[in-house]
Symmetry: C2
Subunit: 123 residues, 2 copies
């Protein structure tokens, strides 16, 4: 895609493709799937247990979108039944490395957020 080498991507511009990439990465389940896969490869059902609460359909859609964007690798071994394993590509690993600090920060800051919510509710 030569045009991307010359254009500057800008997520603030509504027509820039980079916004769709940001939205794929930060979707409800994509963040958790990427961060889980940063721990190591997972088979579908194990990943589904790790990403507590995700439906089979939503996890499948999430993994397809991440595979399309070059973040996740899907490898099907020719066994019976077929064994399908998901792992991060180098690009997906870079993405996960930028999502982990965000998740850790959210978990760490929960007391402050909870206080803010209490204060907001009591106004």
């Amino acid at each position: 895609m030569e045009e991307f080498d010359q254009l500057v991507a800008d997520v603030f511009s509504r027509r820039c493709t980079s916004r769709t990439v940001l939205e794929t990465l930060t979707g409800r389940w994509a963040i958790l799937a990427l961060v889980a896969l940063h721990e190591g490869p997972y088979r579908f059902n194990a990943l589904r247990r790790r990403v507590d609460g995700v439906s089979e359909k939503m996890l499948s859609q999430t993994l397809h979108a991440l595979e399309r964007d070059g973040m996740v690798l899907r490898v099907a071994e020719p066994s019976i039944p077929p064994r399908v394993e998901y792992s991060l590509t180098p690009l997906g690993r870079e993405a996960a490395e930028r999502l982990i600090p965000l998740i850790e920060w959210v978990e760490e800051r929960m007391p402050q957020v909870a206080s803010a919510r209490e204060e907001y509710a009591s106004r």
Copy 2:
């Protein structure tokens, strides 16, 4: 909220409140609003122009959720017409500082994502 001082937050657990905070922060428009407000305070309409493509309703909902979670401060000056300004709290600033590297990485990596999409489409 004393229970948060004793419990460990875990976004992977479906019932953990931290997941709702992560989802507020990484919503379609919240990321862009937080990163824009990191540039400085904005009035509503100026922020709406900056976050290209957001509707009045969605920006308003986004700002309310961020205000409730203690990330955004809404200050209404007693003028006619009322002048309402939005800015980041220290907590919101911390959040924005973890979102900016993600956005910059997405913008920088667009050529690789575009190649991955082309390859995926041509399979």
